[in-house]
Every structure is written in structure tokens, then in C-alpha cells.
């Protein structure tokens, strides 16, 4: 028991270090700004006060009850910066306790939780304010209550999820049903929880529709990079995939239950290649299999000892390599003080109705600091495909008339060119040419990171 507590403390400590490290390293580099991610969008939407409409970008947003909680400034800062880390640490503790209830050996539990902590997705979710930090925490909390036979509380917890993110609610329901197929335990509790969850999903759908949100926008599927070793934001490491495959083979039992469960899992895994939410959920599921495989490889008697040692070392190195690549990436990510300075300049310079053109991946960040509309951000392609396509037209067109028409149509006054957008524009070879040759653009700001051009046409 003492040992178990010791391990749990060490795991929480490891999680704490990994979650705080990127922000701390950035602070050491005199960068106190939140890492560029959807966190900026969440904070802006929270600050805006409306739970169903994005007044800056001008479209409906899905219902999120967290946006309804009103807090003072100090409490908000805690919510945005500290709460996600605390939720991450609680998730670690709860995951450990849930696994303890499953007749899994202590070593395997430690392996599973460690793999979960060092996974880039865990770091992505819990380093700053993401909707998923609440959703995943609630899932684990609900599961903890469920395995402890407190299904009333468990149902209540699961019922909250669709009101934070309706698609996460649907994914939770699918996973609960998969669990129902695969396990003989807690069947009644899962059924009741499933019914409650279904009802709340329907309720959430009705509310969303009532507030004018198109439910179809929830289903965001497109092919994405899923390997963090090669630069994915929300992905897993190659070694984890191999370990998961080994784990799936090891835990295979003959019978239709396993067959159905594995089929559902396979569908889920394939779908998770195309969808962020599913990939985030899948990360936590596959860690169980990967953990089993890791312990199996470690425990089993190998024919050649040196191969065992080298293979285990390679696995550990490659998993930590993936974590390191991801940490380095987010430590180096925007915004830097120079970048924020450029955004503050635009904010001071521009009228509230003027629109900024830049790369979609920096859209949330620009909207947050400038309080101005951007032509495109990470969600534009789902809400307004035509707008998204027009960005591509502007970037590649050398026809001044056509470009000006689009610029005027959307009231685009500023073009913010950072390193990423510069590479994109270089590739497209349209807008840069027009900027340099048309005399319709004036460079109004330039530093080492960013150049801002004003459309004066």
C-alpha cells in the first residue's frame, strides 16, 4: 500500500513536471504568453460572455456551459492557466484508481499511466485551457464513480459532457457501449449511464439547434497527420502504435465479444485518423494496450537477453523522443513578445470592422490579441468553406482585380505575414507578387517575426 502511494505520488509528480515544463521553459525565455492553440479561442469565447454565438467571427458556436460560468479576472486567470494542470493531475490519480479496480497488476498500471502522462496528447490537453481538459477529466471521473458502483453520481457526471462538447458526448456514449459489449461488469450501471447520456445528448442537440447551431458542423472529419514523431499536434508516437498492436494481439480472447469489441475499436481507430476528438479519446484507450504490451515485453523470457534490453531501451527512447519533439515544438511555438507586439500594433491601428488575413493556424491567436476578425482560423473550413477557399484564391492569384474583389468583399485591410504564412505564400506565389508589384499595399510594421501589410487600394 505504501509502495502504491509512493508510485502514485511519483506519477503525479511526473505529470506535474511535464505539464508545467513548456510554460516554465517559455517563461525562462522571457515569454509569458499562452502557447498558440485552440486555448486562445476558448478564452476569447469565454471572455465574450455568449455561450452560443461568436460575435467576432460572426457564426454560431456549439453550446458550452463553461462559458456560462462567470468569474472575476483573478479567477479567470486561474481557470485558464492553473485549472487545466490540476485537471491533468486529477486525471492521472483517477486513471490510476480506475485501473486498480480492474484486476491489473501494479506494474502494468504504472506502465499504462506513465505512457498516458508522457503522451503528447495528454500534454496538449492539460497544458492550457482546452475544452478537452474538462471533457477527459469528467470521463475519467465518471468512469471512476462507475467502477465504484456509484452510478447515480457517475450518470450525473457523464450527463454534463454533452453540454460542454456535444461530439465528445457522442464519443463517450460509443465507448461506453463498447465497454458494455466487452465486459460483464457494471452492466446495469453502464446501461443506465448510457440512457442518461443519450438523453442529454439529444437535449444538447435540441438546445444547440434552438440557438441556431448547425449540428452537422460537429462532425469534422479530414485526413490528418497522426504521428507526433513527424510533427503532428494531436497524435501518438510510432512506438505506441506498435505496442498497441502487440497489446491487442496479447489481450485477444476467442469469442464474439472480443470480435465485436475489436471491430468497434478498429472502426474507432480508423475514424480517429480523421478526427481530433476521437484521436484524443483513442489515445487514452490505446495506452491500456500499449502498457500491457510494454510490461509483457519486459516480463517475458527472451531467447536472447541483449535483444530484450536493446529493444526495451529503443522503445523507451522512441517514446521519450516523441515527447521531447512535442515539448520542443510547443516551447518554440508562437506567440513571442515580438509577435504580440505586432498584434497590439494592429489592434491600435485598425477599426473594429476591419479584417486581417493570415494563416489559419494563427487565427485564434490573432483574434484574441487584436479583437479583430480574421478571414480564416482553424474552424473556418467547417463553418464557411467558401471563405476558406477564397483565402487560397487570394494566396495564389496574380490577378489584381480578382484579389481586390475578394479583399473588398471581406473588408480585408491587413495582411499579417509570419514565418508560416510566408512559406505558404511563397508556395502559392500569388499574393506576395501582388503585394510587391501593385502599389496597393503598404508595409506598416516589421520585426524579426512578423511583417504587416496594409491594403490601401
Amino acid at each position: 500500500m505504501i509502495n502504491e502511494k509512493k508510485y502514485l505520488v511519483l506519477l503525479v509528480l511526473l505529470a506535474g513536471i511535464l505539464l508545467a515544463a513548456p510554460t516554465l521553459i517559455r517563461m525562462l525565455n522571457h515569454n509569458t504568453y499562452i502557447i498558440n492553440s485552440e486555448a486562445y479561442n476558448n478564452i476569447r469565447l469565454y471572455n465574450q460572455g455568449s455561450s452560443n454565438y461568436d460575435s467576432l467571427q460572426g457564426h454560431s458556436i456549439p453550446l458550452n456551459i463553461i462559458n456560462l460560468i462567470r468569474l472575476n479576472d483573478a479567477a479567470r486567470q486561474v481557470l485558464f492557466k492553473i485549472v487545466p494542470i490540476i485537471l491533468g493531475l486529477l486525471t492521472v490519480i483517477l486513471a490510476y484508481l480506475v485501473l486498480h479496480k480492474q484486476n491489473i497488476s501494479e506494474k502494468t498500471i504504472i506502465a499504462i499511466v506513465t505512457l498516458m502522462i508522457v503522451s503528447p496528447i495528454f500534454m496538449y490537453i492539460f497544458t492550457d485551457y482546452k475544452v478537452y481538459s474538462f471533457v477527459i477529466f469528467l470521463n475519467i471521473l465518471g468512469l471512476y464513480l462507475l467502477v465504484n458502483n456509484k452510478f447515480m453520481f457517475s450518470s450525473a457526471i457523464f450527463a454534463i459532457i454533452p453540454f460542454i462538447d456535444i461530439f465528445s458526448g457522442i464519443v463517450t456514449l460509443i465507448l461506453l457501449l463498447t465497454y458494455l459489449f466487452s465486459s460483464q461488469k457494471h452492466r446495469t450501471a453502464i446501461r443506465i449511464t448510457g440512457i442518461v447520456l443519450t438523453v442529454t445528448i439529444i437535449l444538447s442537440m435540441i438546445l444547440n439547434t434552438y440557438y441556431g447551431y448547425n449540428i452537422l458542423h460537429l462532425f469534422r472529419f479530414n485526413l490528418q497527420n497522426i504521428l507526433t514523431d513527424i510533427g503532428a499536434n494531436i497524435g501518438v508516437s510510432f512506438s505506441i502504435i506498435i505496442l498497441t498492436i502487440i497489446g491487442l494481439i496479447l489481450l485477444w480472447e476467442d469469442g464474439w465479444r472480443t470480435l465485436v469489441t475489436y471491430t468497434l475499436m478498429l472502426i474507432f481507430i480508423v475514424a480517429s485518423v480523421f478526427n481530433d476528438t476521437m484521436r484524443i479519446y483513442m489515445n487514452f484507450v490505446i495506452m491500456i494496450y500499449a502498457g500491457f504490451a510494454f510490461i509483457y515485453l519486459n516480463k517475458r523470457k527472451w531467447s536472447i537477453a541483449i535483444i530484450k534490453k536493446t529493444t526495451i531501451l529503443l522503445i523507451i527512447c522512441s517514446i521519450f523522443f516523441s515527447t521531447l519533439v512535442y515539448t520542443t515544438k510547443i516551447v518554440r511555438s508562437e506567440p513571442t513578445p515580438d509577435y504580440v507586439d505586432a498584434l497590439n500594433f494592429i489592434k491600435a491601428q485598425s477599426l473594429p470592422t476591419e479584417v486581417i488575413l493570415s494563416s489559419p493556424s494563427n487565427g485564434y491567436l490573432i483574434e484574441y490579441y487584436t479583437e479583430r476578425m480574421t478571414l480564416v482560423d482553424d474552424s473556418t473550413k467547417y463553418y464557411d468553406k467558401a471563405k476558406y477557399d477564397n483565402m487560397s484564391v487570394i494566396a495564389s492569384s496574380r490577378n489584381l482585380e480578382r484579389t481586390e474583389k475578394i479583399l473588398k468583399e471581406y473588408n480585408i485591410k491587413y495582411v499579417l505575414i509570419d514565418q508560416e504564412f510566408q512559406s505558404y505564400l511563397n508556395e502559392k506565389e500569388g499574393l506576395l507578387f501582388i503585394i510587391q508589384t501593385s502599389n496597393k499595399f503598404t508595409s506598416i510594421y516589421k520585426n524579426s517575426k512578423v511583417e504587416v501589410w496594409m491594403y490601401t487600394g
Partner: protein, 506 residues
């Protein structure tokens, strides 16, 4: 007494193998030294070898390629050649060592064939065939990594077949480390071994734990080491890195340079027929685990080739060596059949007929490949090009960028010691298609302003026009260089021109 001794010696396979090895090596070196020069791609390797010799390290930060870029590669092959270049000139080492490595394949083909057939005669015949596969002669002057990769891969396969002996486990481990440090072609073996496990499962063979462990270890090793080496390429190109950032126009003409008949000739018809039969026999007539591992490696090369994930020549070499080894299995079946039949008296005649048939079919392809001006080992730059570039190295400013044909880029960096616009190392170069289009347009455009603006774009004031470039672009001359206002002939030597321009398009 003497006759008995001679017969005894004649019966020893090692004598035959040494003889074949020496013949193969002699032919290869004879072809290699027909020219003091190398194929165009080889000049990148020569630069790496020289740099290792001078500084101890490969040239990862290349100041000349593409006007300056980072190169990514596994360095072991270059270190081996640099090691030998300490005892002989690097250009000599670069001719001799790769060809010795290439000729060594006959030993490993013999041992693999012997493992499959337990028959000295058949194994010797197949090792002889492996030495004369026409496509295997393409890389004679290319300082190619293919030879070392193939030798290592098939030696590992041999070790995999003998894992029950402890020393072969150690050999396999050492060779695996050497392989991943030599080339990314280790993926061929990884995929082959994973296919092998799949085939064993499908054919209900027992998978030995040692095999499984080594395959698992090797899979992790290859992926991790390659992630480390090519990390920047993965981050830059994402998953598309598997196509090595090769421009679309080159990728789309992947199979168009060589027709089906030429492929048959390049691999040789006898190994194809017997190899394909072995594939059929191993699955339908007499299931053999040893053959399955070879089939898996062959399939792996075929799949990678099909999806254009592997260089065409490398893929064909892999396939041909696999087919040659599989040929031994078919020959063994044929030999068993003959032994049981009434024609067993003609055994020697049949053997001789197969060898003669092989030689007859191989010689025309061999001659055709060796003399091929496109892919042959003698398709080297001309001495005029070399002299011109050496002149550049002595007379042009250090910062000069020389525009040359795509294939000549590495030569510009090696002999000219000046920056090029483009060469055949495509990784980590942004807008590679645009760059290739620009390069092509410099030679093919009829508009002087367009050519000058493109030259300005890449800060290039010099254009190298060789006979090879004119042939590749199918033009008699570059159309705008006669304009004396903008273009000045800086150097000329027997059909190789170097033009200089100081004009700018604002």
C-alpha cells in the same frame, strides 16, 4: 596422384566461388576503369568522402547544393569509402571498393542457395548467375549505396535462417546496426520481415520466438534511427517524405524510362522464369519456410517499387537478386525431378544447357546496359565538362551560382566548387516542383527576359551548357544566349559552354 588432387580441388565449391568472384570483379573493374569519371550522382558521394577524409565528418551543412542546404543521409557507406581513401586516392577507392562489395554478393547468394537446396552444384550455378545480372552492372560507376545495402540485407536474411546457432544471432544484430547506419533501404527488410511473419501465420508455420524478437527489435531500431536521421525531413515534408520530395514530373515518369521488355532483359529471363516458379512451388507444392523469407523480401521490394517508394534501379536489383536465389529452389526441384525420371543420364547436359541459355540471354542485355547512354556505367560527364568546371573553380568568384542541368548539379559542386541551383538531392527543399520548372525554363525558354528573371531569382550569373544538357532538353542550343548585350561566352571547350550574364530584370 596429381589428377586426383586436381579433381579434389575442382570439387571444392570455395574454389569455384573464388574463381567466379575474381571473374566478376575483374569484369566490373574493367568496365569501371574504362573512364576516369563517374556517373553524375556519384559526385555527391565523392564530396562526402572527401569531406570525411578532411574533417572526419560528412557534409551535412552543404554550402553548395541548392545554394546552401542541409543534407540528410545515413553516413556509414561514406565512412567506409573514406577509410579506404586514406590508403589510395579517393576516386580510385570509389571505383574499387563498391565493386568489391558488389562482387561479394556471389558468396551470400551461394550460402543462401545452399541453405535452401543443400546442393553445391545448384548453389554455385546461382551464385554465378547473381554475378552477371545485367541490372547489377548499372551502378558500377555510381558509388551507389545499393551494393552495400543488398549485401547486408541478404546476409541478414541468411543469419535469420540460422538463428538457432547463437553466433548468427550476434552476426544478425551487428549487421542490422550496420544496415541502419548505412541506408534507409533497411525499410525493405523491415517490411519483408513483417510480411514473412504474416506469410508464416497464413501458411500455419510455427513462428520461432527468436525470429519474432529479432524482427521486433529490428523494426524499432530502423524506425527510431531513421526518425533521428530524417527528423527534419519528417517535420518539413510530413508523411510525404517517403517520396523523398521528388518533383512530380520525375515521379510521374518513374516507370516510363524503361519498358517491360527492357525490364525482362535487365533482370534476365532465366531468373525470372525460375524465380516465379519457385514462388508458386513454395506456396502450392512444397511449402518451405526458408523460401518464404526470400519471397517476403522480394515482395517487399516489389510493393515499394509499385508505390514508387524506392528508386527504380535499386528495386530492380533487389528483385533480381531475390529471383536468382529463388532460382536455386526451382533448379533443385528440377534436379530432383530429373533424377527420378528417365532423362537423369542427361543431367549434365541439362545443367550446361541452363548455364548456356543464361549466358546467351544475359550477354545482349549486359552489353546493352553497359553501353546505355542513359543508365549505363559509362554514361558519365565528358572531360570537356570537367575541364570547364575546373576552370570555374579557379576563375569564378567563390559566391558564384552556376546554373547547370539537374543531373549536373552535383558535378558543379564537386569540380566547380561553386553553388548550384539544383541537384538530385531533393529532400528539405521547399517548392521543389517550382524550382525544377524554373531550371527547365532557363534552358528551354525563348524569352530572354524570362530566363534572366529566373536566373536573378536564384542569384545565378553563370549558365553551363553541356552536350548532355542539350540532349536532355532536346535542343540544338539555348536560344537567347546569342544576345551579346546580356550574355557573354565566358569559357568554351569542345561543345561545353559557360555563359555569363550581368543583366537584371527589375
Amino acid at each position: 596422384m596429381k589428377l586426383d588432387k586436381l579433381k579434389e580441388v575442382k570439387g571444392k565449391p570455395i574454389i569455384w566461388l573464388l574463381l567466379i568472384f575474381l571473374v566478376v570483379l575483374a569484369i566490373r573493374l574493367y568496365i569501371a576503369f574504362q573512364t576516369p569519371l563517374f556517373n553524375y550522382d556519384a559526385y555527391f558521394s565523392l564530396r562526402q568522402i572527401d569531406n570525411i577524409k578532411d574533417s572526419g565528418f560528412p557534409l551535412y551543412k552543404d554550402a553548395l547544393s541548392y545554394g546552401g542546404k542541409t543534407q540528410l543521409f545515413a553516413p556509414l557507406n561514406y565512412y567506409i569509402l573514406a577509410g579506404f581513401s586514406l590508403i589510395m586516392p579517393s576516386e580510385v577507392a570509389a571505383k574499387i571498393i563498391p565493386n568489391i562489395i558488389a562482387a561479394l554478393i556471389i558468396f551470400i547468394v551461394y550460402y543462401l542457395s545452399f541453405k535452401i537446396t543443400k546442393n553445391n552444384k545448384i548453389s554455385t550455378i546461382t551464385s554465378f548467375m547473381s554475378g552477371f545480372i545485367p541490372i547489377y552492372f548499372v551502378d558500377i560507376n555510381r558509388i551507389s549505396i545499393n551494393y552495400l545495402a543488398i549485401l547486408l540485407i541478404f546476409t541478414i536474411v541468411y543469419c535469420m535462417l540460422r538463428l538457432n546457432e547463437r553466433k548468427y544471432v550476434d552476426y544478425a544484430l551487428i549487421l542490422m546496426f550496420l544496415l541502419v547506419l548505412s541506408t534507409s533501404m533497411a525499410f525493405v527488410l523491415v517490411i519483408g520481415l513483417l510480411l514473412y511473419l504474416l506469410l508464416l501465420k497464413l501458411e500455419n508455420f510455427a513462428v520461432e520466438m527468436k525470429e519474432l524478437e529479432i524482427i521486433l527489435f529490428f523494426t524499432f531500431l530502423v524506425f527510431w534511427v531513421n526518425l533521428l536521421i530524417y527528423k527534419n525531413a519528417f517535420l518539413t515534408h510530413g508523411l510525404l517524405v517517403i517520396w523523398q520530395n521528388i518533383p512530380v514530373t520525375i515521379l510521374s515518369s518513374f516507370f516510363s524510362n524503361i519498358g517491360f521488355i527492357q525490364v525482362l532483359g535487365a533482370v534476365s529471363i532465366i531468373p525470372i522464369i525460375f524465380g516465379v516458379y519457385a514462388f508458386y512451388a513454395a506456396f502450392h507444392l512444397e511449402r518451405s519456410k526458408d523460401v518464404m523469407i526470400l519471397i517476403s523480401v522480394g515482395l517487399s521490394a516489389f510493393i515499394l517499387l509499385w508505390f514508387k517508394l524506392m528508386d527504380f534501379i535499386s528495386g530492380l536489383i533487389f528483385l533480381s537478386i531475390t529471383l536468382v536465389i529463388l532460382t536455386s529452389y526451382s533448379l533443385k526441384r528440377l534436379s530432383d525431378f530429373i533424377e527420378k525420371s528417365k532423362i537423369h543420364r542427361y543431367d549434365k547436359i541439362i545443367t550446361a544447357a541452363i548455364i548456356i541459355l543464361f549466358i546467351i540471354t544475359v550477354i545482349p542485355s549486359l552489353v546493352s546496359i553497359v553501353s546505355s547512354s542513359r543508365i549505363g556505367p559509362l554514361s558519365t560527364p565528358s572531360m570537356n565538362d570537367v575541364v570547364t568546371l575546373k576552370w570555374c573553380s579557379e576563375n569564378l568568384p567563390k559566391s558564384a551560382v552556376i546554373t547547370a542541368g539537374l543531373e549536373e548539379g552535383n558535378m558543379v559542386a564537386y569540380y566547380g566548387q561553386r553553388k548550384n541551383i539544383m541537384d538530385t538531392n531533393f529532400l528539405l527543399t521547399p517548392q521543389i516542383d517550382q524550382r525544377l520548372d524554373d531550371l527547365n525554363s532557363i534552358y528551354t525558354t525563348t524569352f530572354e527576359t524570362k530566363a534572366i528573371s529566373t536566373l536573378n531569382k536564384y542569384n545565378s550569373k553563370y549558365i553551363l551548357v553541356t552536350q548532355e544538357t542539350l540532349k536532355n532538353y532536346n535542343i540544338a542550343k539555348v536560344s537567347y544566349v546569342d544576345d551579346d548585350k546580356c550574355f557573354k561566352l565566358e569559357y568554351y571547350r569542345n561543345g561545353t559552354y559557360l555563359y555569363n550574364t550581368d543583366c537584371k530584370v527589375e
